[in-house]
Symmetry: C2
Subunit: 513 residues, 2 copies
Amino acid sequence: MSERPRRRRGAGRKAKHAARQKPTVEISAWADRKIPYFEVLDEEGLELIENNAETVLEEIGIEFREFPRALELWREAGADVDGERVRFPRGLCRSIIQKSAPAEFMQHARNPERNVIIGGDRTVFVPAYGSPFVRDLDQGRRYATLEDFENFVKLTYMSPGLHHSGGTVCEPVNVPVNKRHFDMVYSHIKYSDKPFMGSVTAPERAQDTVDMAKLVFGEEFIQENTVVTSLINANSPLTFDGTMLGAATVYAENNQATVISPFLLAGAMSPVTVAGTVTQILAEALAGMAYVQLVRPGAPVVFGTFAAAVSMQSGAPTFGTPEPSLILYATAALARRLGVPFRSGGGLCASKLSDAQAAYEAANTLQTAALAGVNFMLHTAGWLEGGLVMGYEKFILDADQASILGVMLRGIDLSENGQALDALREVGPGAHFLGASHTQANFERAFYRSVVADNNSFEQWEQDGSLDAAQRAHTIWKQMLNDYEAPPLDPAIDEALTDFIARRKSEFEDRDY
Amino acid sequence: MSERPRRRRGAGRKAKHAARQKPTVEISAWADRKIPYFEVLDEEGLELIENNAETVLEEIGIEFREFPRALELWREAGADVDGERVRFPRGLCRSIIQKSAPAEFMQHARNPERNVIIGGDRTVFVPAYGSPFVRDLDQGRRYATLEDFENFVKLTYMSPGLHHSGGTVCEPVNVPVNKRHFDMVYSHIKYSDKPFMGSVTAPERAQDTVDMAKLVFGEEFIQENTVVTSLINANSPLTFDGTMLGAATVYAENNQATVISPFLLAGAMSPVTVAGTVTQILAEALAGMAYVQLVRPGAPVVFGTFAAAVSMQSGAPTFGTPEPSLILYATAALARRLGVPFRSGGGLCASKLSDAQAAYEAANTLQTAALAGVNFMLHTAGWLEGGLVMGYEKFILDADQASILGVMLRGIDLSENGQALDALREVGPGAHFLGASHTQANFERAFYRSVVADNNSFEQWEQDGSLDAAQRAHTIWKQMLNDYEAPPLDPAIDEALTDFIARRKSEFEDRDY
C-alpha cells in the first residue's frame, strides 16, 4: 500500500455549509497553556548557568551609561559602582527582583475583553516590531509609512490568533522621527482595542505615551494598573544606555510594564556558544530587571530576550537554526525559576520573501517559543529580512501559525467525548468515521482549519489559479483591510488625544533623530 | 533602539577561507539525542489511553483479513477468533511484545559505517516514500520514472542529514508494477551504501527483497542480523489485509525489521478527536507488532504511525496542524512505555509547491517528531501534496532541516569551553566577540550553517538574482547530481544481483498491479 492519504470524496458534505459560517479558532484574550514546558537543561545545568551569571555580575559587572541616577540607585542598593561599571554582590539582583517583581500582571486594554495577563501558563501573541521597510506582492519592498502602520494595526485587530497590538509594528518614516511616537500610539488606540506598547526612543517620548494613556484610562487608573508594556533593549554585551534607562525609568515610575531584553547576535554580541550566551542573557536581564525594581518596587517587568546566531562567514544574522532554539529553551526555564514573565520568539527569518526559507525559519522559532513557554511573544507575525522588513503576506501566514500554536497549547481533551470509545464501537473495523454520530457532533471544532493553506486536490488548485501561499495571503490581507471596521472609541477621548498631539507637536521642531 | 539585528561587516573575515573548506554538519550514522523528550500527557493520561486501547482490543477487536495463518497463530496464542475478527484478552498483545520484541536493533548497511541503530535515544532520518509523481522547477509535475528514483537515492546518499536510503522514494512508473521492486532494491544497493527498505506490495516481492539482500550480505548473516526495514501499514480502522500480513510474515521469518504503521486521516479513518485517534493507533500497533512476534519472537518491530487530520469541509488531508502534532507526541510516549522503537513524522505538507505553506507545515511536523522522540523518521525529505509528489527542491530544503534537528538533538554543551566565562571576561561590556580568542577557537563548528538559506543583505541578494529558496534548492540538487560519485560495490555482488534480477524478471509476465 502506498504511504499517502487517500482522499475521501464528499466528506462531511452535508455539514459543509454550516461549517463555513463558524470559525474554528476560538477568540480568546490570550492562549492558555495546558501542556508542559519543554526543558533542555536539567536542574544541575540550570544551576550552573545561574552560578556563572552571578560570577559575571560580580566580577565583570554591567555598565549603566549616561544615566547617573541608575548609579546612585545601585550604590544605595549595595552594589560596587566604579565609573559607569556596576558590580553586584552575588544574589543581589535576584533577591531585589524576587522581593517585588510580580510573577504575572494584567495589561489593560481599552476594551476590557482584550485585557491580557502576561505571565504564568499563558501566551500572548504580538506582531513584529521595528522594521523601517514593508513588503507586499503589489509594491515590493519600500519604506514604511504611517498608512502601513495603520494597516498593520488593523490587520492585528482582525487576527484572532494575535492578542496584542504591539508597538512599532513598522517605522512610519514619512513622519519626523521625534514626532512619530504620537501617531503610533494614537493608531493603536484609534484603530484597535487590543493592548499596545509605548515609545522607548527617548524618555520624553515614554512620558508622552504615558500621558496619552492617561487620557484613555484616567490618571488615577494607570497609577494602579498597567496599560502599556514597552520594550527596553540592553546594548549587549553587558551594557544599558541612557536612552533605554531613561525610558524604562519613566515607565517604572508610572507603574507601566517594561520588557528588559538582552538583544544579541551570538558570536558577535555574546560568546559563540549556547551556554555562554545564555549566561550573558541572564546576567543582563537580572541587572536590568533589578534596576526597574529599584526605581519602583512592584513595577511589572518581563524577562526578555532576542537571540540570533551570527554567520561566522558573513557576519549576517541567521534564524531558525538550532543554537538560538536551544538558547530560547534554556532562557525560558531560567525566567520561570526566577519567577517573572518571559518574552522571546516569533516568526523570525532572514529571508527577503515569504518563501520556503521564511516559513521554515519562522516555524522553527514559533514552535520553540511556544513549547519553551514564552509569555509575551513579540515578533509573532510579519517579520522578514532579519527585521528590516514587515511583510504583509508574511503577517497573514504567521498569524495563522499563531492560531495553530494557540490550539496546540491547549493540549489533549481527555473527557469522555475526547476519548471517543463510543465512536470506535459504532464504526468498527474497516468502516469509516465520517458519518458516525460522534463525528457529526464534533466536526465543527474538531480540527484546526488554516485560513491560508490550500488542501485541495492538485486539479482543483490548478483551476483556482495555481497560487502559492504568499499569493493567497495577499488576497486575504487586502480583503481584511477592505472589510475592516474600527472598534468604537468615545469621541471625547478621541478629541482629547488629537488635541494633545496637536499641542505637543507644535511645541518643538521636527527632527530626524 | 530598533529591535533588529545590526549587520556586523567583515565578521570573521580572516577565517572565511578556512571555514568554507569544512562542513559544519558532522556526518554521523544517526542523530544522538541528549535532550529530554517532550511529553504532552502525564502518567494518568497515558494510562487512560492504554486502558482504552485494551478495551478496543478486547471488545471490538482487529480484523486480520485474507490471511488464515494469522488467525491460526492468534488462536494458539489465546485470542478469541471469530471469522476474521480477532479479540484479545486484556494485556495479551502487550505481553507478547514485551516478551520478545527488541527495544532497539541495528540495521546493517553494506558499508558498516552507515549501519544504523533504530531505537533508544537515536533518530534516523529517512526520505519520503510512495509518491507516483515528482516535481521540479524545470519540468513541473510529472509521473516519476526509474531515473527519478535513482536520482533521489543519489541525493539521499549525498545528504549528511539523512541516514537511511528509504524505500519507495518515488514510484518508478515506467517499470511494470510487478517488477519495479527489483529495480528499486537494486538502486538502493548500487547507488548508495546507506541502509534501505524492502518491498511490501506482495509477499513474493518481500521474498525477492530478502533474496537480493542475501546476495549482498550472505545468507547466514541475514538470519542473525537485520539488513532491511520495511513498512507495513494497517488498513485503518482496526484492520490488516492479506498483502501487508504476507509481506510482514516473510520479513519476520527472515529476521528482518518491519514498521507496523496505523495509517490514518483522523476524522475519516479514526475518531475526530486526538485521544480517540491515539487510542486506535495504539490498539492497531499492539495487534500488528504482537502478530510479528508470534511469527518469529525477537524479529525487530517498530511502532509506526502516520496521522493527518482530514478537513471536515473537503475531506482532504491537512498537515502541520496542532491535532496531528498532539497525536504524535502522545503516541511517541506510548511507544516508549511499551519499549519498542517508534516511527512517525517527516516533512509532511499538503502544498503543491515548495512554497511557504509547504515549509510551515513541514517544519511543524519535523520539529514535533524530533522533540517527541521519533527513532525512524520516514518522510523526512521531499514530501509534497499529501505524499502524491516527491519534490526535488523540497527534498533539498527538508534535508537541510534534518541537519538542523540533528544538531538540536545534541543539546547544550556545558563543558568549560561551552560555558565561555573566559570569553566574557576577555571582552567585557560594550565590546564585541568576533575577535575574541574563544570565538576564533570555536567559530568553525560554532553554529549550524544552512546550505539553502540566504542570509546576505538585501542588496547582495538582489545582485545574486533575487532567488527564492526553491530556486536556490534547484541549483543545489542539480549540482549534487552532477558531482555524484557512486560508492564502490564489489563487481561480483553487482553481477550476482543483475543476474538474479534478469532471471526473476524473465520468470513471469509484466503486470500493472
